[in-house]
Symmetry: C2
Subunit: 337 residues, 2 copies
DNA sequence: TCAAGGGGCTAATACGAATTAGTTCAGGAG
DNA sequence: CTCCTGAACTAATTCGTATTAGCCCCTTGA
């Protein structure tokens, strides 16, 4: 169209006409006009093959985004990611096609597409350790949303500061007169659970009160179905009451809601706070729970920032912890008589 | 390592040793062993460069996905799209980097990236006509979510069957004794509004009842703020009552809610049905409105199907209309005395 | 002995851009 | 008139894979 070579177009496209290489303003205009008319876009694939970047950020969700309870939980992260990506002029590639093995998506498989993007954001409660290690080893640029333990090296991540937030709740409980607190949940496994537990242990020790742990089982069946209190919840309630526990911190929102309902139906006075937002469907309730608000949107946005730093090799911290907001709610109350 | 050529490795990797090309079992073994030892994986980028298509589907949202009211409305579409994309082994490219001009994103601009993908899905209440025409003219594979009028040719789309759904509501109203119905809304402009109006007109004519139209203004300010009934709503209510109207169909959910509230506060008995789901924030309410449930998730999924057909040139219809579910609700009631 | 016909594999090329080493040309200095 | 220099481009190469034409060699049949 313009009678110039492919090389020239490439130079114009990348604004390289300024520095090392010289192009006349007129030629550049001509090329730009042609580009505008045809709507030509450089093929990102070829671009990435040749230049090793394409301003596309991958988003890999470990757990399938369905059912909708999950979806609602992840949505705010995506909003934050999108917002920041837009700001930086990057597009997002949702890596949806990862095959699901044993109910979990695996990153590495036959046709791994992570490399299509300049870098990727990993989203999901539990990321496979070996996958993480391999990503680090192969120096694939990525950032995890949610703190991760070392996997043969520090894992770039943007997480919520659960220990600090849980500590606030514990202190608040202590101020309200509680002396025997319980942690309801697994307290281990995914880092987000382990972090909560760690915050709990440290805080109760620091406050000089008693902290006990009532483990829950992983809900069976699909998350959407697991809304009824399992037998372990009832057992936990009994044990807690017998042990003189007056306040319970529930790792999972749904468990907290179920326990609250259970206590109410038995006419028992029990303070409850939940350590997060619903990740699986919770029974509808009017009660506003004392809980933590995870800054999901901000986490998404910052994940993009960190990812860009990783990609571009900008110096700076690769791990960020964001404070959670404590939602006062009405379920953490003064200790009864 | 094995002393074979790159071509041979490629053949082994793709299992092409079976058909057209022949490779000795021994060579294949040798290559496979080397692959296993080194953990070699074909670079997906190069792979796609050679394959000429990338199994990437673009998703272009016209209106910015923010604020959250908008976001919530679009989310189900995205869920459906993702679901189907996953099924087909495609990844999704969110075209987030499109600049916003006059509050609307434009498809065509200096750095248009639509062509990055094999094809794209367009999402938004109003798509620019000239953009559509250009897409058609340039044979860019795309599908619109939401029916579109011809733009120099039929526009591939997956929409909701508003005329049929509105007709059902009109018939239901007539069965309940209503003889003077009103349509509240613009009834023109975006196809989805025009379609509702068309369904209304046809249905009232068919039922032999009276149908009047009370237009609303486009809400001013950001959608999120426009929750209070504008002066035109009050005027519409007065006019409707004076004209003996007993049932109102509201184009926009938020208007229906506001009108309902207004009528209630005046102690007036008025049947109301809304013709869709909230696209802008509606005041919180306990009332379950008689309304339409737009099959958003299904629309998203089918849009992907149609898009694939367009891309691959598979024969078949390029325009689909999906039925809406009528939500009974409690606001369309028997005509008063 | 030679042509024909495979089997087995590789050289060469395409994919679409980025990059670099030149090439061409005009103008100025000597 | 020659040499040099810088401006303005372009030819050629690269990235890593898929694909295909074709090469080589061994058999087989005449």
């Amino acid at each position: 169209m313009t009678g110039v070579s492919q090389a020239t177009v490439s130079l114009v496209l990348n604004g390289r006409a300024e520095d090392s290489v010289k192009l006349s303003a007129e030629t550049r205009e001509r090329v730009l006009r042609a580009i505008a008319e045809t709507g030509y876009v450089a093929d990102p694939i070829a671009r990435r093959l040749a230049a090793r970047h394409n301003r596309i950020l991958g988003v890999f969700t470990y757990e399938p985004v369905f059912p909708s309870a999950n979806s609602d939980f992840y949505h705010p992260f995506l909003v934050g990611i999108e917002q920041q990506a837009e700001q930086l002029g990057c597009d997002l590639l949702l890596l949806t096609s990862a095959p699901v093995v044993d109910g979990q998506r695996r990153i590495f498989h036959q046709d791994n597409r992570l490399r299509l993007a300049d870098g990727s954001i990993l989203l999901g409660r539990s990321l496979d350790r070996s996958d993480l290690a391999r990503l680090l080893a192969e120096e694939v640029p990525f950032v995890s949303i949610g703190r991760r333990d070392d996997a043969g090296g520090p894992v770039p991540s943007v997480g919520a500061d659960y220990p600090a937030a849980v500590a606030v709740l514990v202190r608040r409980a202590v101020e309200l007169g509680h002396e025997r607190l319980a942690y309801l949940g697994q307290g281990a496994g995914p880092e987000s659970w382990a972090d909560r537990m760690r915050g709990f242990r440290t805080a109760v020790a620091g406050a000089g009160v008693t902290g006990v742990h009532y483990p829950t089982r992983e809900p069976s069946g699909t998350p959407a179905e697991a809304t009824e209190p399992g037998p372990d919840l009832a057992a936990a309630l009994d044990a807690a009451l017998a042990a003189g526990v007056t306040a319970v911190l529930a790792e999972e929102h749904a468990d907290g809601v179920a326990l609250h309902e259970l206590a109410r139906s038995r006419g028992v006075r029990l303070s409850i706070a939940t350590l997060g937002e619903p990740t699986r469907a919770a029974p509808a309730t009017e009660t506003e729970f004392t809980s933590l608000r995870i800054p999901r949107q901000a986490m998404g946005a910052q994940a993009v920032e960190v990812l860009m730093a990783v990609i571009e090799g900008t110096p700076g911290p690769r791990q960020r912890l964001l404070p959670c907001e404590v939602v006062p709610g009405t379920t953490l109350i003064e200790r009864g008589i």
